[in-house]
Symmetry: C2
Subunit: 256 residues, 2 copies
Amino acid sequence: MKVFKIGGNVVDCPEALESFCREFAAIEGPKVLVHGGGVVANQIQKALGQEPVKIAGRRVTDGETLKVVTMVYAGWCNKNITALLQREGCNAIGLSGCDANAICASRRAPLLIDGQEIDFGAVGDVDAASVNTDLFESLCSAGLTPVVCAINHDGKGNLLNTNADTIASSIAVALKAELVYCFEKNGVLMDRDDEDSVIRRMDPALFGELQKKGIIADGMIPKVQNAFKALREGASSVVIRNSANLAKDGGTRFVL
Amino acid sequence: MKVFKIGGNVVDCPEALESFCREFAAIEGPKVLVHGGGVVANQIQKALGQEPVKIAGRRVTDGETLKVVTMVYAGWCNKNITALLQREGCNAIGLSGCDANAICASRRAPLLIDGQEIDFGAVGDVDAASVNTDLFESLCSAGLTPVVCAINHDGKGNLLNTNADTIASSIAVALKAELVYCFEKNGVLMDRDDEDSVIRRMDPALFGELQKKGIIADGMIPKVQNAFKALREGASSVVIRNSANLAKDGGTRFVL
């Protein structure tokens, strides 16, 4: 079983998405695709006159924001990807967490920030225990390919916005699957301007060393941390790689 | 097997929707719910500065309109209804036509109107042959309740906007199921201002007579025509009734 995650660089670009779907459809064996939402949600929010609110770097999901991300992720993105995969002969089925109770998230409790209690709204947290493994296994056994967005439910009738990277790792851990994070670079790079400088094999010691030297920095740090976490928790393998040329092996493979 | 259709009077009103979901969840046996979209799509279109275009009474679905209806019907409405049903213990699974190729529509050909060829855009037509009966039967056998919106695909990677009443009748015909059209009135009324004047049993002769007298008029005519059509094509029964008090028998039953 393989779990792929794609983000804005694919979802936001019709040509990249079509090409990805063609390559993804051709991959043999049971597989799951998890997608993020990209910039469309921001565009719609802006067009509707909504002002995205962030506190301490985290997005607050109020009722209007939840409406927009549900419309964009679960509606527009999820159904477009599913329709494109159907065209390529891949029997895709789009899922939000509420569908057949695929993923049940828990609403994030308010956080104390600078002595003030901040409610982040309709934001959910998930882990491997949130994943309905029976459902994913039976869909895959029936020849279907789940296409999962990051909109989930809490089992109490509420939708929650969650993190697509975490959805992907939770599914991979729950299914003991191979996890493939696809993004716009060829992998974790020794030189961020040189796409040929991919680090093929990454263990925690190397990560510590490269982080100290500033070679792995900024947004790459949580990506690598997530990769190790998924591996420790039970994903059978974890790779970070380019979303293009899926048929070609490549990227950074994580080992413990 | 029972197929229920709800429209704007339920989908647009949170209290009505919660109450409907509670009653629908309690109905025993295999069932399918088809929903329309209501006024939310119009609100979003307006907020985005889009001007709904109608030609000869039919809505033209251009690319921007398709985006909005997909976001609203397949995203916001479909996932909210599914999450509410999950809360009530009904194992609902939201579906657009592209999901597992549930319904494959054909794009409506341009029409000649006043000597001009009019392209209605991303509008699809469906009939019973468009419905993946194996899928609906296997989902229901697995204890799942499909919740279907009127966004479909053409198998060529394109999404199409279709008519929710026709989706409901096509599914009912394909599955030889009971079809229940729910709306804001108690059924077809002899006196449109008296909810107690429900016509319990309607055959084609009575329809002709009441239409001649003007008792059945306006928007009620296509509803009744659709009901007879579904029955002729193979739905096991057809009822038009109020969306409230589902447990209570009622409404207008059609016979040939």
